[in-house]
Amino acid sequence: MAQGSTTQGSTTHGSTIGAVAPTVARRSGAAFSEMLKDSALFALVTLGLSIPVVAYRTDLGQGTGLELTGRWGVVAGLCLAVFVLRLGQRLLLGEVARRREVHRLATVDAAPVVARAGRVLGPLTLFVALTLPLLAALASGGLSEGRYWIDLGILILTYVMLGWGLNIVVGLAGLLDLGYVAFYAVGAYSYALLSTVFGLSFWICLPLAGLFAAAFGVLLGFPVLRLRGDYLAIVTLAFGEIIRLVLINWVDFSGGAAGLSSIPRASFFGIPFTAGEGGFAQTFGLTFSPMHRIVFLYYLILALALITNLVTLRMRRLPLGRAWEALREDEIACRSLGIDTTMTKLTAFALGAMFAGFAGSFFAVRQGFVSPESFNFLESAIILAIVVLGGMGSQIGVAIAAIVMVGAPELLRNLTFLKAVFGEGFDPNEYRLLLFGLAMVCMMVWRPRGLISERTPSVRLGGRPA
């Protein structure tokens, strides 16, 4: 099973392991010195790469020119780290290869363990998500004190929803969309403009924002979905950038780079979250607290995310969803089976765009402010990274990736001991994208099908739909 589900992975691995195996089998001193030499080579290359971008930092000095500061200590540290990591990797790979040699027949199967973990993790994550405001309040001793956690939850859930939405396009249909954030922007600006110009309420704007985003998806998708995979990716990227540049430059329409502010807040289905007469607190006989709105927003994004998930899971078992997956596997075979590939891609594109539109309108109502800078390529890349790291197609994988990728740096920022180790100016957020990039590469190299790579069949013969 493990071999089957990760065919690509094992072929790419095969060569590395194959090259290492014979040396390890002997396990002689010569092999070890070979490893040392190899690791030293890695360190040497690192040294080469570090000159001069790491070794000298340029800073604006007192005068007009730049000043250089030598940092050879950092370079030495980097080289040492690479040396140790490479040596460790070689030793570990060697060990794995040796073990595999020994247990060649009794293959140790890791996949079921991961799958079982996924089965437990799903409900657990859902449980935590559903009770987060309560947990936060209990843990911090009050709803207002727990605000940090609830805000973090909202942030993470926004990315979970975006990740799930993009997962339809990338994970299921296999279309690499690098401009996904454009649809997010369409949703956000739809709400911002509809509510400020026409005074429409959030609950009318939400579906409209989704529809607008989907319409944009169709508009863009129709001409470009015939293109081969990597061209499509670049075209969607260009499209996303065009939307952003237009938002920046078309000041009359979008407020330009300054953005749009004082966007109306969300109401509880018509009842505003205000302190006075007719407000939420008074209507329900509660003491007013600004946290009511925050908690409401939290459950709103949770509901939206869960709807995204539900629709995706449902779609997978419908012919259209199956056609998406088939399309990802082999487009030519799809055509030979009478599937209109352009239309099928278009539906995936539009549905993904629609969820981005919903998320965008949530973003606008939560912030009360939108500006083009929230929708740059990096944002698209982060969402894509979440989908890729989650394992392209795995719903729980995407959720976990979003939690780790968005939540972890936030948490790390507050760990004071890190500052003690790395100096006062240390900000883990700076390293966040660096690690995103590295993680994307590592995933493609080691587990191209994602951490949770097992695909659940959409239907089984032995029993009804899975």
Binding site: Q8, T11, T12, S15, V45, G48, L49, I51, P52, V53, V54, Y56, R57, T58, D59, L60, T64, G65, L66, L68, G174, L176, L178, P223, V224, L227, G229, D230, Y231, A233, I234, V235, L237, A238, F239, E241, I242, L245, V246, I248, N249, I332, L378, A381, A385, V388, E430, Y431, L433, L434, F436, G437, L438, A439, M440, V441, M443, M444, V445, P448
Partner: protein
């Protein structure tokens, strides 16, 4: 007319830089069929390498000869960037051969994000200005209203580009590496059977592409006098547009495409609107990919069933 001539010179200068970057895209696409998304960031990185060596040479070693400084910076930047190109291919792309279709592109996006943020972390987020290396201009034409000039910078950029392209052309057309490279483009498996070291040829392609990007990076720094960690993205996309416009996989096409994109961008900014100059490049990319994906000099692709 004078205004037009001046813009034409400016456009050609910009176009030379795009053309140099575009060559890296087109060579890599030609040989392994992947869009090397990180190439723009390699270009940005090379600009930083050039910047730092420029500072070392001028402020620490006190060199004053412009030609010598330029030459040393150029060569060092080419070598060190080539090393980056080699390392990236080795770590992030080579293990992915035979992986699924989108894996190399996703990996390249990862490298791109890594590189720009790596530079941000090690060099800071602010713009890095350098004092102008050469200020002189040659006046080509003058009347009461207009002066058409060719600055020394522009002259250096165009000359360097032309010289390096000639050398590069010789390398690809006349040497055994060039033959191996073209063979790998046509049929990688057959080339391997005939005893060509395919891995090494691909590595060399990346090295060469990175070295050309380093030339572009050095010239970019010379031209604009400022660089920042985010400067890889937009020139990268424009150079890719140039490669696609010229016909991806075609080397003369990449240079031609670069010049056209440089000219279009310059004229667009001069006559229409400077705000939408990037939109112009992106629109060209979309239009070309939709209507003529084989570009000006590329060969049309026959779908393999």
């Amino acid at each position: 007319m004078e205004f037009f001539a001046q813009q034409f010179i400016n456009g050609l200068t910009l176009g030379s830089i795009y053309g140099l970057i575009a060559l890296g895209y087109t060579m890599v696409f030609g040989i392994i069929g992947m869009v090397n998304f990180a190439h723009g960031d390699v270009f940005m990185l090379s600009s930083f390498i050039a910047l730092i060596f420029f500072l070392i040479l001028t402020t620490w070693l006190g060199l004053t000869s412009v030609a010598l400084v330029f030459l040393i910076v150029l060569i060092v930047a080419m070598i060190l960037t080539a090393l980056w190109g080699w390392a990236i291919e080795r770590v992030a792309y080579r293990p992915l051969r035979g992986s699924f279709r989108l894996a190399p592109l996703i990996s390249a996006i990862g490298v791109s994000i890594f590189l720009s943020n790596f530079v941000q972390v090690v060099q800071g987020a602010r713009n890095k200005p350098v004092p102008p290396l050469v200020r002189d201009v040659i006046v080509l034409y003058q009347n009461e209203q207009y002066t058409v000039t060719l600055s020394y910078k522009q002259a250096i950029i165009m000359t360097t580009t032309a010289l390096l392209l000639a050398g590069f052309w010789y390398l690809v057309q006349r040497t055994s590496f060039g033959r191996a490279q073209r063979a790998c483009e046509q049929d990688r498996r057959m080339a391997a059977l005939l005893g060509i070291n395919v891995d090494r040829t691909i590595s060399l392609t990346f090295v060469l592409g990175a070295a050309l990007a380093a030339v572009a990076g050095t010239l970019y720094l010379l031209y604009y006098g400022v660089v920042s960690f985010s400067d890889g993205f937009v020139p990268g996309v424009k150079a890719f547009t140039a490669a696609v416009l010229g016909g991806i996989g075609s080397l003369p096409g990449a240079v031609l495409g670069g010049l056209i994109i440089g000219l279009i961008e310059t004229f667009w900014s001069a006559y229409f609107s400077i705000e939408y100059k990037d939109v112009a490049a992106f629109l060209i990319l979309i239009v070309v990919l939709i209507f003529k994906p084989s570009g000006i000099l590329g060969r049309p692709e026959v779908e393999k069933v």
